[in-house]
């Protein structure tokens, strides 16, 4: 089965959305395309797990990639389902231009396609191209609302990410050079790098890795390069925010994981863990105060993304097999929880007409369907059982202790508690209490509630299940990926 099959569904959907005129038809095509895409991803993941990596020209899908692809397609499915309500609301409030449906859905699926290119690229250059392409394809989605805030956010997003990624490419070139020096021909394939890694010149790899971490770290939202993130996440339409936070950051982090895996045999764990611990703890420390005194709930969620990406970097920094296992589990759980949070935040935004935290109260009574999922998602993000993040945080922090990085782990724990205090404070204020102001009269159509319940359940159910039960297959998958990352397996 060819690897590029993965890209067919989103590309075709994007093209169809661009051709078709009727909004309802576009919506339908989008949903069908997402389902198809998810199905293909599922199928390919299954065959990867059952029969080893799929290889194509310059493309390769191994267990790690399949994991990411599955996450991307699942979140994309949920987001495209939730887009229907979003677009209807926008249309009713007359914020849409004539081509808006085409532009939105076309770009949306293009965005998905570029992200799906990330896991299947066997080439660090193509990987970079793919990540850069995600920025470009999503820039107009971020600026979809044409008001000045959205434009500002899109500008910052493009500028900062492009510069950051340029440095990532520089790092990649340095690694390429190191690979050339080590002999073995001119190749950017990461499988190739994995083979020659131990022979590469550590000095060059070290420098290259710094640039890579800085570059992909910018895209993944590690502090202090995260500054574009709250703006973009807060201004983008909520389904897009869900994609940005749940998938885009995850893809960038995937790139970091790949480089981590390449550098590991060459540099050894000490240097890598210093770098990742630094950025991880730094992100936690920067995000925590912002979360404590947040004013805008979509920005709040965005900072929570910074925090979680930092936590994952911390997990890589700890670097034991179980820690990597936990980090990858965290990747999945965070994607689920954060997308759910953004999607429900979008509905809260529709119900209340404001993004200010202090102006939202009693969401559970005003918009119970959104309030419930929002609260659940936020509690999940706080790392409480029965949500999966509890488990992954438990694993990662315990490994921090077990590997002797006690001070770092204690600091991370303290920061997590601070973040929890902030998130909970705002979540309580928003979800509970009495409704204080008159609300926009428009209510979501109850007959179309399933359109919301399906994606919400799609995200929440696995999140809850993962907190209590990890199927043996997933357990094996995660362990396999941990081996890939730490150099024990070619996947």
């Amino acid at each position: 089965m060819p690897v590029w099959l993965l890209l067919i569904a989103p590309v075709a959907t994007a093209a169809l959305c661009w051709i078709v005129e009727s909004p309802s038809l576009i919506t339908l095509i989008s949903v069908l395309g997402s389902v198809l895409c998810f199905a293909v991803c599922g199928w390919q993941s299954w065959s990867v797990l059952a029969g080893g990596p799929l290889v194509g020209s310059g493309l390769r899908l191994d267990a790690l990639g399949a994991y990411l692809a599955l996450i991307i397609s699942a979140i994309a499915l949920a987001a495209s389902l939730a887009s229907g309500e979003f677009m209807r609301h926008e249309a009713e409030s007359e914020k849409l231009g004539p081509d808006s449906w085409k532009v939105y859905y076309g770009l949306f699926h293009l965005f998905v396609a570029t992200m799906l290119l990330v896991p299947i690229a066997d080439n660090l250059g193509i990987l970079w191209v793919a990540v850069e392409a995600t920025t470009l394809s999503s820039a107009f989605l971020v600026g979809f609302h044409r008001h000045h805030h959205a434009v500002e956010a899109a500008w910052k997003y493009v500028i900062l990410c492009s510069v950051g990624l340029a440095f990532a490419l520089f790092g990649t070139i340095l690694l390429y050079y190191a690979g050339l020096q080590a002999g073995g021909g001119a190749s950017l394939s990461w499988t190739h790098f994995m083979e020659i890694s131990a022979r590469m010149d550590p000095k060059i790899v070290k420098l290259g890795l710094l640039f890579v971490v800085l570059g992909y770290g910018t895209k993944a939202g590690l502090a202090p390069m995260h500054t574009w993130l709250p703006d973009a996440h807060s201004q983008a339409p909520s389904p897009v925010s869900a994609m940005l936070s749940g998938v885009l950051l995850t893809s960038a982090f995937y790139a970091l994981v790949r480089f981590y895996a390449i550098a590991m045999p060459c540099l050894g764990p000490a240097f890598l863990s210093r770098v990742f611990l630094f950025f991880g703890l730094g992100s936690l420390a920067i995000a925590a105060p912002f979360i404590l005194v947040a004013r805008d709930y979509k920005r709040l969620l965005a900072y929570s993304s910074v925090e979680h990406m930092g936590f994952m970097a911390l997990g890589l920094g700890i670097g034991t097999p179980l820690a990597v296992y936990g980090t990858l589990l965290h990747l999945l759980c965070h994607a689920l929880a954060k997308s759910l949070a953004f999607l429900s935040a979008g509905r809260i935004l529709h119900a209340f007409g404001t993004r200010k935290i202090t102006k939202v109260a009693g969401a559970l009574s005003v918009a119970p369907e959104a309030g419930f999922f929002f609260l659940a998602a936020v509690l999940g993000l706080c790392g409480l059982p029965p949500f999966g993040i509890f488990l992954s945080e438990l694993i990662v922090l315990s490994q921090g202790f077990a590997s002797g990085r006690i001070l770092a782990s204690v600091a991370a724990g303290a920061l997590l508690v601070t973040v929890f205090a902030g998130l909970l404070y705002h979540a309580i204020g928003m979800s509970f209490g009495q409704v204080r102001r008159t609300l926009p009269a428009r209510r979501p159509d109850p007959r179309r509630l399933w359109e919301w319940m399906i994606p919400a359940a799609l995200l929440l159910v696995p999140l809850v299940l993962l907190g209590c039960w990890i199927p043996a297959a997933l357990d094996a998958w995660l362990s396999l990926m941990a081996r890939i990352v730490l150099g024990g397996s070619r996947g």
Binding site: A139, R146, H148, W155, I159, L169, L188, R295
Partner: protein
Amino acid sequence: MTMTFLLALSLVSAFGILAFRSLHLVVRAYAAQSIFLGLAALLLGMSPGHGHVLGVAVSAILIKGFVIPWYLFQVMEEVRIQREAEPFISYPLSMIGAVGLALLSYAVVEPIAVHDPFAARGFALALTLMQLGLWLMVGRQKALMQVVGLLVVENGLFVAALATSFGMPMVVELGLAFDLLVAVVVVGLLIFRIQSTFSSINTERLSRLRG
């Protein structure tokens, strides 16, 4: 010798970009820099064993030396902006900073490739250009200036790719070039949008999203 001269000229033009206030001059300096680098690549391509670089070099000269500057002039026409009036970092300070960054880049990169002076100098120049490009973006308020900064950063990448002496694999190079084009178009469109929403392309206006 010629190669060194060309690379030195590209560095000089980078400082020129940093020094000029007029947007026209800046874009021209960028075009000049791109052409110098393209010529350097051509030179490299003519040496035996590096034939595949030739295509890259030609396309670089065409795209970055002519197409992109032309596009930027179009944008300038459209938004009617001529000069950088209020830099974020004052001109003298930005020159001093630039010198410091250049020195740092050399200090960082020189030791890593002692056996290969060509690569060492190439990477050092590449990093310098990237740092200067970033520094330009930090220091200037006009959105167009930031675009030029980004392009200078990209030129640095071009140098880095040359410095590996083999160039990057073709498919990657093409991807990069394509990405660059798209990026410039996207950024250009965004600048139009900024102009129409804010009636200015001063990025200082773009600071309402805080906290």
